[in-house]
Symmetry: C2
Subunit: 266 residues, 2 copies
């Protein structure tokens, strides 16, 4: 930041905050936090406020540019809350489902039941928003105990766009395989919850067994897809809110990333 700009900021903060009789230097970090001028943008200085910063953060998260991230940036917690509880999350989900269906319609389904679409479950078929609304929308550290209690309730609602896609794919003749990071111990409640939310007639529900313990999701899910391929299934499409649902080996011909700015699973 040039010294001229610094002086301007001082003047600006005096004008705005002077009426509150607060010391200027105490205010400065707040201004700079909420609307920093980023030198990286070069000659054409950009003002990055929280909304724009968080939108860019979301871009980096959803494209997997951010890689492993453990916490929503503090200044973006409210942004994430408004996103997931507002219409944008639903709208994004609808467009992803439309993309998925467009591709699915181009697939020549054989009718032998070997043409597969793989779905992840959490934040893909089922929404855990009722849980995350009570736990800071992902901003709190993940608490396995309380989350497992939520899972035991088997009351997670469907993501509406995914439920509709699910049924459309079945109408097109696809065989549906569910591949989740949930464990075998959660098989019964998971089935119960899926039925409760309106899902039915899946071919297989694959959960983490004892031999999958300790594997990162990307490897565990790749291995299970590989086994499906070895059984003669053709995996045309795959839907998941995590890149670890989609990348790795034995990848689907087309992968569909659903939005999820609340948490990241490697």
């Amino acid at each position: 930041m040039g010294s001229g700009r610094f002086v301007l900021l001082l003047v600006f903060s005096s004008l705005i905050f002077g009426v509150f009789s607060q010391p200027v230097l105490k205010i400065l970090p707040e201004i700079r936090k909420s609307a920093r001028v980023d030198p990286i943008a070069g000659d054409r200085k950009i003002r990055v406020d929280d909304g724009m910063f968080c939108d860019s953060w979301r871009f980096s998260v959803e494209t997997n540019d951010a890689g492993l991230w453990k916490q929503i940036p503090e200044r973006c917690v409210n942004f994430v809350k408004e996103y997931v509880t507002g219409d944008r999350y639903a709208s994004d989900s609808v467009v992803v489902a439309e993309d998925s269906l467009s591709f699915a319609k181009t697939v020549k389904v054989s009718g032998h039941g070997k043409d597969v679409w793989v779905f992840d479950i959490d934040e893909t078929l089922l929404s855990n928003l009722p849980y995350y609304e009570l736990h800071g929308f992902g901003s709190e550290e993940f608490d396995e105990k309380s989350f497992d209690e939520w899972v035991e309730l088997a009351e997670a609602p469907a993501l509406p766009a995914s439920l509709r896609l699910y049924k459309q794919l079945q109408q097109l003749g696809f065989t549906v395989v569910l591949l989740t990071g949930r464990t075998e111990a959660q098989r019964n409640v998971t089935e119960k919850n899926l039925l409760f939310a309106g899902y039915s007639n899946w071919e297989r529900l694959i959960l983490r067994g004892p031999s999958d313990e300790g594997k990162i999701a990307l490897v565990y899910k790749s291995e299970k897809r590989m086994q499906l391929e070895e059984e003669g299934y053709r995996i045309h499409g795959s839907s998941g809110d995590q890149w670890s649902d989609l990348l790795g080996f034995a990848m689907a011909k087309r992968s569909f990333k659903l939005p999820n700015p609340m948490y990241y699973i490697a």
Copy 2:
């Protein structure tokens, strides 16, 4: 759409447009185009206006959910214009560059010159915005002739965030390889343009040669990365605005997708 909602729309349009004495039925499609109620969202109806639709479209494009797309949706042309000419594009680019640098700093660079970062050129190192501003921001069909004329000028400016990243990576000891879909016939003007924009000291500039003709970018770029690996280079990072810069085989350990809602290259 329920008939009740339809009646409401009629009433609404009468109220708003009545003063202009236009027939209601002529106006309706316009209203429905700009703010449609999407049935896919389930019980909780969402109103998708152009801004929200285009933001969701951009999500699907940047995550590669949309797959091959040939045209910006008509209702999103202005959205794309405002995005690429406004601060959001710059802000997104900055965050991607920051992600890239964070990863780069975790790499143990050997000092033998074999630790590589691969950069695409167009819309990654260089911005063709001055060209696209005159050609509908990607909404017009791609015209190779006029684009090649623009390339011959060698005046494309740097994307500021990328230029900064480029220099930081070199300071960290990375060897920079440039891998572009431009052809060997454009080698001289491309080098000239890169220098003009502030780039220097790349190890290699790889362009499409005669044997690469007709290959899709994803295959061409994968093959070139594979050759680099066979020569003993370790490709740690790769930056590109197209998924075809990043996916395929011989992928970098980490890939960084830069924003580009103007066009898609398979």
